[in-house]
Amino acid sequence: MNNIYSIFKKEVRSYFNSPIAYIFITLFLLLSGYFFGSTLFLQNQADLRSVFGFWVPFFLTLFVPAMTMRLIAEEKRSGTLEVLVTMPIRDSEVILGKYLAAFVLLLTAILLTFTYPLTISILGNADGGSIVGGYLGLILMGASYLAIGVYISSMTENQIVAFIISLAIIFALFMLDKILMLVPSGLVSILEYVSINNHFANIARGVIDSRDLIYYLSLIFLGLFLATRTLASRKSA
């Protein structure tokens, strides 16, 4: 537990001591703010549906790989991973500490959008349930993306490769429900279940169903489990 916390602190500091965190947060807020503002002012709709329903999840598919690409790949490239794993700590502690640090950065960015629902509630009738649901959904979705990103970062020494592969996988998950009309009807229900957006839509409506929670939690668990396994793969003789 202490080890996870030490690694977590170190990673958070390295995000926030470098421009990474600030660039990430600024760009994220600028982009999501633009789309929130354009629905508000151009279409005269005090509504979070388009910004939370499509734009923020879309930006996450781009931003999350950029946040996670360096986490393990860079340590592999520079050799510092060898120092880390020859200390008396478990591989899973390394992964969890790093994952949680990235999660805190993501959480900071997402929570800083609180001004949008605030604006809405001043201007019109905000639906409390769907706002809470929307945030919960975004956080769970981002957390799942992060787990995938950490796993991919653990597989390569090259940050660019880690970025592109995680982007491809996350983007595919994001797009699944948008191509449903193109697939044979037998596959639709399977793809619907796999699609990250489908579960997100449920939660964002304010309906918190255990099936959706299980979906996200198992995605997170799977990503982190595989990342730990990859880290330990040096041990297979």
Partner: protein, 311 residues
């Protein structure tokens, strides 16, 4: 302290380490020698629990590295090849981070860090980013990192690589100092380093162990004939014959005029004999003046070259 038994590591068909067996005794500085790609780093990675061997065992104390990985990692301080560090952290934050991971209780942390900072001489660069430090300081930070928890065993993979001669001497002295209390395994391909710091030497070549002993033992086992160099002021006609008559002398070579009436001779005698005393008495008896006399040592370099010749 560390027992390595029939250790092998294969990468596909490449035998990086091939059935080596040796022992490191408590409190000794072991020089782990070999040409590049001999298997030194691989062996060290196995000892430090980074990866398992293909076959064979490594035991630290009476614990096997893979059954008691966590316990052994607690006892070890490791400085990997190329001394990887986080370049975006400053020295003191970095050492503090390591102290946390090493599980040093918060109450002792500050004192422990003070000691190690002083021992490794990094007090002047505490608040600089490691990426900005000179190679010599980085090496010191790396050593400090390896020793934060006061480990019983230090494993150092080429600790002086890339340093200038002054820094090399400093780091060597530091290692020697540490070696008084700790068991140290030091890999290198720089031979004077071994002579300067190590109590015992293990040489590996193409994954195989080719020598194991003190530097002196290795040197003497490779010495064919004893060779003594002499510079004499003496009538040149008698000298070679008189020298050749001495007991155990097998060959006398006249190396020509040194300066003026001084001549240089090389006298070979049988292995394991020391003819310097009888040479001296002979010179006194014949009223020759000795200007110089020394015995040639077979350097560790010759031993190394002999053992690691590629076929």
């Amino acid at each position: 302290m560390i027992t390595i038994t029939n250790l092998s590591k294969h990468y596909g068909s490449l035998r990086a380490v091939d059935d080596i067996t040796f022992e490191v005794k408590a409190g000794e500085i072991l020089g782990f020698l070999g040409p590049n790609a001999a298997g030194k780093t691989t062996t060290m990675k196995i000892i430090t629990c980074y990866m398992p061997p293909t076959s064979g065992t490594v035991e630290v104390g009476d614990m096997n590295v893979f059954d008691h990985s966590l316990e052994i990692r607690r006892m070890l301080g490791y400085m990997p090849e190329d001394n990887p560090l986080y370049h975006d952290m400053n020295t003191v934050d970095y050492l503090y981070f390591i102290a946390e991971l090493r599980g040093i209780p918060p109450a002792e942390r500050t004192q422990r860090l003070k000691n190690i900072i002083e021992l490794c001489g990094v007090g002047t660069v505490l608040h600089q980013d490691i990426g900005e430090l000179s190679k010599g300081f980085r090496q010191r930070v790396g050593l400090a990192r390896a020793m934060v928890h006061d480990p019983e065993i230090l494993v150092l993979d080429e600790p002086t690589v890339g340093l200038d001669p002054n820094q090399i001497v400093e780091i060597r002295n530091l290692i020697k100092e540490l070696g008084k209390e700790k068991t140290v395994i030091l890999s290198t391909h720089i031979l004077p380093e071994v002579q300067a710091t190590c109590d015992r030497v293990v040489i590996i070549h193409q994954g195989k162990l080719v020598a194991d002993g003190t530097p002196e033992e290795l040197q003497s086992s490779f010495q064919g004939q004893e060779l003594v160099h002499l510079v004499l002021k003496a009538p040149e006609d008698d000298v070679p014959a008189a020298l050749a008559n001495l007991e155990n002398v097998s060959k006398v070579e006249d190396k020509g005029v040194e300066t003026g009436n001084l001549r240089r001779y090389a006298v070979e005698s049988q292995r394991g004999t020391d003819i310097r005393e009888s040479l001296f008495h002979l010179a006194v008896e014949k009223r020759w003046t000795i200007f110089e006399m020394h015995r040639e040592q077979v350097s560790l370099e010759n031993v190394f070259r002999e053992l690691t010749k590629s076929e």
